[in-house]
């Protein structure tokens, strides 16, 4: 009975090795084979050349605006309307924003005098948006020069696309060990994993850092709802009205990740709470086989909950069981588990190397791989499990200072 932990490996290995490997190969192959269709889609985009709104809601993000404006000026796609929404900033964001607006670098700078939270800021910007597509960015995102062009092409390549998620890479991986580990994590969990999930039609979150939506669809779902976790939430809403969610690995955005372990922990706790809040509570109807049931929606949740929540709980519970009942077993268990996951990590790392552009830069990080199983297998699992319990029993996401209390309390009251 004690050794049931072995069976968990039967889930992780197939998923990360076999399913991911196979899906990655098939996805890349399909992409190469349909090259002509991609080219046609690109041409259709360039022929139509629709106005695209770049929406950047933020609080006290004034210092990032310069880089953002520069990044947009370098874009290959230029029919852009930049709307920056200042959500009650208390620093000099207002002055910086007005200055850019007067110079014409920002098309519309909207300010809310009272802080309302990211969702209301995004919705306020949406209200003034005139583009056919809306690209939601975080203020500290910096885009590759062809990122906007790339993220729009899937709308012309496929039918019925409700949202396209861009690829995220860590910009500041040199800042600390925590940042470097996140760099590796993003390579695997976003760059590789999302290609797989998107290919399998179960891609679950279009990140707020870089995501594109047709404006008509955003209007139809009523814009964003109260966060944190509003990016995952709106992705689910769009899924529910039967639209496809696509991941575009060639639309690359570099983002700034937390540098200290403390800040990283806070962020991951927040993300884990969102998982419970949105996928187990608010959108629990996805699980129910009623008239609105869609298998792909169900599977996207299921994959997330199984590998994100259930396995985390099982692993942590197993650890506690060993520590309590037979601590000496750890001397066997720990090296064994570590070896298996080290091999797994190396294989995953080779998948990343295979598909990434800047192989040299990725390869330099190989010396950090030995830490990866501890980072993901212990640190992350423990943090995430705490987050799940925290939200499940204490509803702590509603107390997170990330969002103003006034909206959190109302969201809590009405189960949003």
């Amino acid at each position: 009975m004690l050794r049931w932990g072995w069976y968990i490996l039967l889930l992780d290995i197939p998923r990360f090795l076999i399913v991911e490997g196979v899906s990655l190969i098939l996805s890349k192959k399909k992409r190469r084979e349909t090259y002509a269709e991609w080219k046609i889609a690109e041409q259709r985009l360039k022929n139509e050349y629709p106005l695209v709104t770049v929406l950047v809601p933020g609080h006290n993000e004034g210092k990032h605006l310069y880089k953002l404006v520069e990044s947009l000026k370098r874009q290959t796609y230029q029919n852009i309307e930049l709307i920056v929404v200042d959500d009650g900033s208390t620093d000099n964001t207002k002055d910086i924003g007005h200055n850019f607006e007067q110079r014409g670098d920002i098309n519309l700078f909207i300010r809310s005098e009272i802080r309302g939270g990211k969702a209301s800021a995004a919705n306020m910007g949406l209200r003034y948006a005139q583009g056919k597509y809306v690209i939601h960015l975080d203020a500290d995102s910096s885009l590759k020069d062809d990122a906007i062009e790339k993220i729009l092409i899937p709308f012309y390549r496929y039918e019925n696309v409700g949202a396209v998620g861009g690829n995220l890479m860590v910009r500041n991986e040199e800042d600390s060990l925590a940042a470097t580990m996140q760099y590796l994590e993003y390579l695997q969990s976003i760059n590789v994993s999302r290609i797989v999930l998107s290919y399998l039609r179960i891609y679950k979150i279009v990140s707020g850092a870089f995501g594109a939506f047709p404006k008509a669809i955003l209007d139809r779902v009523g814009g964003w709802d109260v966060g944190p976790g509003l990016d995952g939430d709106i992705t689910v809403k769009i899924r529910k009205i039967n639209h496809r969610i696509i991941f575009e690995e060639e639309a690359i955005c570099h983002t700034h990740v937390p540098v200290t372990w403390k800040k990283l922990t806070k962020q991951r706790l927040r993300w884990s709470r969102s998982l419970v809040r949105f996928r187990l509570r608010k959108h629990r109807d996805i699980w129910i086989p009623n008239m609105n049931f869609r298998f792909s929606n169900f599977m996207s949740f299921f994959e997330n909950i199984l590998f994100g929540l259930i396995l985390d709980f099982l692993w942590v519970f197993y650890m506690i069981q060993i520590l309590v009942m037979e601590p000496t077993f750890l001397l066997i268990w720990f090296p064994f588990k570590y070896s298996i996951y080290l091999i797994l990590s190396i294989i995953q790392y080779s998948y990343c190397l295979a598909i990434c552009d800047d192989k040299g830069q990725v390869f330099k990080k190989i010396i950090y791989i030995p830490l990866y199983p501890i980072y993901m297998g212990y640190y992350m699992r423990i943090v995430r499990t705490i987050g799940y319990i925290d939200e499940f029993f204490f509803y702590d996401s509603y107390k997170d200072a990330w969002n103003p209390i006034k909206t959190s309390s109302k969201a809590k009251e009405f189960g949003a």
Partner: protein, 322 residues
């Protein structure tokens, strides 16, 4: 001929016919002049004539208005500064209250009346000298007063009385004072700042918020409402249904401000039917009422207003006899 009355030891001339006929009386015949005429416009003209006189005995003569006439004079707003053109109001012919002033003027006149006239003064210098004499004997500084009549909003009535058109009066009196200040004859103290039309220097300005697209100033301001529960944010018109506020996104009723919703700002709508632009920060356009020139606020001329007093050098210069 106007009547002269004796009050204590002072000969008081009651100005009536002189004002009607616009002739200056002989200054030697009386010590004090008191205006005894009803028409404020004629009185103004007469007082300005006194100021413009080249005869020191005339322009330094103490001239008073009677408080009993005040209401009649000030019936029209344009006459509000009429007392600045003379030595003010007295009541019930109480000349004895002004005895110190009368003696001071008398002394000055006796000392300087004969000895002036040797210098050949230019127009500007004459104005400065005449003004100096007056302010020195009255022991006052040259203080501008606020007036609706003036072009910029401030006026130096006595100095401007020397000029004949309203634009010239405003411009030349400032130039004169500034010139004297730069020669160190005058000292100045800051009292106000003005923003004036860059074309005509006028201070009567109409400030309007305009649509950034079509420049119309027929705008409507609508408060924004943020509904907490569902993060919907939009102008109040989105929510208004009959008399209640109902959220267009989640259909709930908004009852308590601060609890259910709040107002984080406002939005403007251009009422020009061919524009209908929506925006948050309307630019401001300034229109000059006098010359109808449109300009933006930072194109306005910024001018400072000062009060002036005489320096030591100034005193020496204007009191010298050669």
């Amino acid at each position: 001929m106007d009547k002269i009355v004796q009050i204590y030891d002072k000969r008081v001339l009651l100005l009536d016919n002189s004002i009607e006929e616009e002739t200056l009386p002989d200054p030697d015949l009386s010590d004090v002049w008191v205006v005894n005429h009803h028409s404020p416009s004629k009185v103004k003209v007469f007082l300005k004539k006194i100021i413009r006189s080249e005869n020191l005995k005339v322009y330094l003569k103490p001239v008073f208005l009677q408080r009993e006439f005040k209401k009649g004079y000030e019936y029209f707003r344009e006459n509000l500064y009429i007392e600045e053109l003379c030595d003010g109001y007295i009541e019930n012919m109480q000349i004895q209250e002004k005895v110190q002033l009368l003696d001071r003027v008398n002394y000055f006149v006796q000392k300087y009346a004969e000895n002036r006239g040797h210098k050949q003064l230019s127009g500007d210098e004459a104005i400065l000298q005449s003004s100096f004499d007056y302010y020195y004997t009255r022991q006052k500084s040259i203080i501008p007063i606020k007036s609706h009549n003036s072009l910029s909003g401030y006026t130096h009535p006595r100095i401007e009385a020397h000029f004949f058109s309203i634009e010239n009066a405003d411009k030349y009196s400032r130039v004169l004072l500034k010139g004297a200040f730069s020669e160190n004859l005058l000292d100045r103290e800051f009292i106000d700042t003005l923003h004036l039309c860059h074309h005509c220097g006028g201070g009567f300005l109409n400030y309007r918020e305009i649509c950034p697209k079509c420049k119309s100033h027929n705008l409507k301001m609508i408060p924004l409402i943020h509904h907490f529960r569902c993060a919907y944010i939009g102008p109040k018109t989105d929510f208004l249904y009959k008399d209640q506020l109902i959220c267009p996104k989640c259909s709930s009723l908004l009852l308590n401000p601060g609890v259910d919703y709040d107002r984080p700002g406002s939005t403007f709508i251009c009422k020009n039917t061919s524009c209908n632009n929506q925006f948050q920060h309307p630019p401001i356009l300034v229109s000059c009422v006098d010359c109808e020139t449109d300009q933006s606020p930072h194109e306005l001329v910024v001018r400072k207003v000062y009060k002036y007093s005489f320096t030591e050098k100034g005193l020496q210069h204007f009191l010298s006899l050669d």
